[in-house]
Point group: D2
Amino acid sequence: MIDVTIIGASGYTGGELIRLLEKHEKVRITGVSSRKYDGEAVYKVHQNLRGSDLVFKNLKPEDIDADLVFTATPHGYSMKIVPELVESGIKVIDLSGDYRFRDFSVYEKYYGLKHTNPLDAVYGLPEIYRSDIKKATLVANPGCFPTGAILSSFVLSKMGIVDRLVFDSKTGVSGGGISPNEAFHFPNVYDNVNPYNIVGHRHGPEIQEELKEFSNVLVSFTPHLVPVIRGILTTCHGFSNNINKSNDVTDFNVEDIHEEYKKQFKDEIFVKVLDIGEIPKLSSVRGSNFAHIGGFEVDETGRLVIISAIDNLVKGASGQAIHNMNIMFGFKEDESISHYGLAP
Amino acid sequence: MIDVTIIGASGYTGGELIRLLEKHEKVRITGVSSRKYDGEAVYKVHQNLRGSDLVFKNLKPEDIDADLVFTATPHGYSMKIVPELVESGIKVIDLSGDYRFRDFSVYEKYYGLKHTNPLDAVYGLPEIYRSDIKKATLVANPGCFPTGAILSSFVLSKMGIVDRLVFDSKTGVSGGGISPNEAFHFPNVYDNVNPYNIVGHRHGPEIQEELKEFSNVLVSFTPHLVPVIRGILTTCHGFSNNINKSNDVTDFNVEDIHEEYKKQFKDEIFVKVLDIGEIPKLSSVRGSNFAHIGGFEVDETGRLVIISAIDNLVKGASGQAIHNMNIMFGFKEDESISHYGLAP
Amino acid sequence: MIDVTIIGASGYTGGELIRLLEKHEKVRITGVSSRKYDGEAVYKVHQNLRGSDLVFKNLKPEDIDADLVFTATPHGYSMKIVPELVESGIKVIDLSGDYRFRDFSVYEKYYGLKHTNPLDAVYGLPEIYRSDIKKATLVANPGCFPTGAILSSFVLSKMGIVDRLVFDSKTGVSGGGISPNEAFHFPNVYDNVNPYNIVGHRHGPEIQEELKEFSNVLVSFTPHLVPVIRGILTTCHGFSNNINKSNDVTDFNVEDIHEEYKKQFKDEIFVKVLDIGEIPKLSSVRGSNFAHIGGFEVDETGRLVIISAIDNLVKGASGQAIHNMNIMFGFKEDESISHYGLAP
Amino acid sequence: MIDVTIIGASGYTGGELIRLLEKHEKVRITGVSSRKYDGEAVYKVHQNLRGSDLVFKNLKPEDIDADLVFTATPHGYSMKIVPELVESGIKVIDLSGDYRFRDFSVYEKYYGLKHTNPLDAVYGLPEIYRSDIKKATLVANPGCFPTGAILSSFVLSKMGIVDRLVFDSKTGVSGGGISPNEAFHFPNVYDNVNPYNIVGHRHGPEIQEELKEFSNVLVSFTPHLVPVIRGILTTCHGFSNNINKSNDVTDFNVEDIHEEYKKQFKDEIFVKVLDIGEIPKLSSVRGSNFAHIGGFEVDETGRLVIISAIDNLVKGASGQAIHNMNIMFGFKEDESISHYGLAP
């Protein structure tokens, strides 16, 4: 049994952490911090959590006595509190972007912020970095888009068979957070599709940095807001320079590729590789920590198409954070996150 | 540990039973029956259940060896198989309408079917009939609309203070089942509201029969299809004849009424009575077995308004069925159905 | 040809006025006023109006030279500018609530505002007040909920056969305006139903005031926000005291009632009375100035159900305002608002 | 004034033709044909058209006396009736895929049908083929996806600056037609994203055939079903081989490209070229015949992104068909299709 505190508990990812951790057999939630809702019952803000006894407190880092802290705090704020927590011997899983980059200059460029407290962190994608996570003190939980994009394609990069990947992602609105704004005003989203940051979105370089660990591949990324609450569906279009030069020859062998994906994920609880031609959809993973990967088809121009589906708040955020916690503390990997997706 | 079989497992309520029962510590699913999908892996139909090893079989009643059978079968079909199961000593929870009425002539009138196999059954609303359910051999799981409507109002009927109740219900589309038809064609439902069976819906007399167990009250019911997948929100408008006669005097005392609701449900895990003026919403109970009841306001004309929200597939069907099972077999009442709603 | 100015042109009703008036053969839009967007092209705010040359200006009442002004301004603001406009000889159609009530004390109670500039106005529901509108200087355009509710029921009040009416309304989100807030944050509305102001909504007394012009009837009103952009579907539950006293006898004669509705609206372009048992739906009137009225059924308890569907921004606001203008200036009544609803 | 008949009038594109043509000042609708609804009032099927006097008839080609026939009939059926109509001197605009391909063997491959009646037809995209359309006897109205894709990119192909284009399209459900099926069952679409035919969709070769008229470019296409009724948003990802070879140099000059688009469409009523960085969205064109084209950004890998938005039933089908008719008969090009999009 460990003591866990959540900072930034009034947002969507904070709410998800509480929803899942309250049912975790090895976890006691000892603090849920919110500046805005200090003293308020958690269920007044997260009304789905009616039944919980938790109450928000405005906790300072120095007040916290826990084995693990989740910082579900905004970019730029995490860096202010994480170092103090780490120094005091508390393990930290940070859900912000502050510690996701190896190269902090990339962070500073894409987040438009000076990084005042760089620290070594493990990138918390268990399917790649499990052994590092086990020993980590600070885990940088991946971004939601990068989770779906990297899972759909790092095997390709490992195989060294792609030169260019275009990730065309469709995301639910919960990725934008709990605060209302014009972009998420119901009449602006419903019955609509809104591309945004069509070039230069900050999750592009995060994907790029991870994929180039395996081989040299050019990464492009464009997100679209669709009228969905949860979920990111990523369409990964893959190209090889060999193919680009010749109209007629396709040298992607989908059977080999598919075989390699099956091998890579065969012991993974949360990644399901579908059959060739089977297509993932958001409803299959809604509310769950599963990632579904499918497609595996090549068209006449030599373009390879792979599709991944995740729940942005679970596998793309809080569920993956709990998965990381389970690994760090030697718990059963799927403890409290084993449930199936909610469909229909 | 008990052995459980689900008949009609390829529909939505069947899928929900599997989703929840696979995580139940005291249950082994020994059969999932479907005529249409005989031999098919369950996850090919219920794609959210990828990871399950279950395979549909076309099971005949005589093939079934189980402690409990859930019949998630269509109205009119349950009556053909339930008696044989019951006779062979298997407990049955029937999710169809076939055994919900005390008065089978009401069933025959509203379902337009001759009832060929009447049997005594317990109406499976645990908050009213827990002690009968404990001893039951056959439980008739309540309809989705009646669950929300009765929970919102049976206390009023017990108190004997209402003469007329109008239930104006808004339901998600999953209540209509997994088979496509014109009424559930996406462009007909999205961005739309469709009232249907505005008088004479078969769930009206089911509500009426239950409420009149407590006192004499006239029940009216009108359902509306809204662009939502799961959930029933019921607006219960209550009237007293005393009030109708006089414009100025309101004799509903909301504090007393609210107090009575709090008392009635104080030991119930799944029913949450909100404060006076707090309003339930579907998102708070989505995917969960909770029922939220709120509102408790009276307008200047003496109309009392109470609102209830449930997930039609969980509290309104499969979750409640599992709750009944837990009671029948002495398990923890919320085993496998204790999780919170999925919000946002 | 008349000169028309719109004050408050950057909101939804302002945008609708422009959308429709730009195609009006007898209207020249001489001003579109917005404080916030002074100097901005209209199509930058209302992106569907790309192609329009109009530019927002911050117009003061004294700057306006027009035959008619639409004030699509917030409650409380209209009363500050309408009197000056009227005095200067300009006709005004006010889309706010400021001039809708005969009894200004009701306004002050329900809007929580002191009314500083009471004026006589004609209630702009053409189907009732056409002859007054023809001669009006100031028209108070009805509220969106009252438009649907009154059209569904004033015939009943005229017939003198109902003692109580309960309007249970389901509205799209555009009724809440163009400004984002928590209630209209996409994840709070989508896949959800939100009742609000379940008693005491300010549109209740507006309905009450109009219906009691015909006979004494008690009016109750409860609105619900549904995941829809446009449209109000109103379920009108009607009761007679005679019926309340006796369980068995229904004295509503739906054929007579239906006949009376047909008669009342036979020359109305915009009100369509459906056959008995036919049910209106929002998609049939989407984007149009039509009101569909249907249902006309009585249940076993003697409750009468009538359903109306309108587009809240057109028949419930800007389209009806243009209808009023057409009447005031002797134009063809359906000029620029004759198009059908957009379905699917 | 011309006489027009619509065959296949009970589907979505048929309904749209009626909705728009009934307000056309130069058109008399002399026949609306439907086998299924012979004798039924049009407004019983298309309930938004309540007010129309039209009645479906089951018309044979030989019964038709008209200046123009729209065949809104299924693929494979048009080819059976179009030749007879054309021979009898009637002009035809065919909304099916039967006459869209220059190379009928491509049609046969992708539609899986033997083409029994090949005829010369003009591809009805007015922005490219206006002068041919003016003189045409048979116009093949473009597919919905090709309309959005070609408009977003034919200028690039004309400029000869792209080697590869990937069209990642997001479509509303109305593109799938009025008949319910599993793919369009509400719970399968809502809150979900469904990619389909991720390679090999029949609209890919249609786009390819048109774009290669200008220069040699490889076309890839993947459609996704999103929870939207109307609209196709196409994300066009463009690549040049020059760029692929070098990570650092971008030789797309977006200012030049944007200038070329502005020039190309400067006299087009229905195509709006947005500023560089402005992003089209479906809500801006909903229900209208407009196409919005925007984006025009290049990322660090040299990928060019252009976005187009259309209403699939209007610019992608019936509106464009009427545009073609207006050109063929010398009417004002925007007669009956000049209205703005419906937003919010």
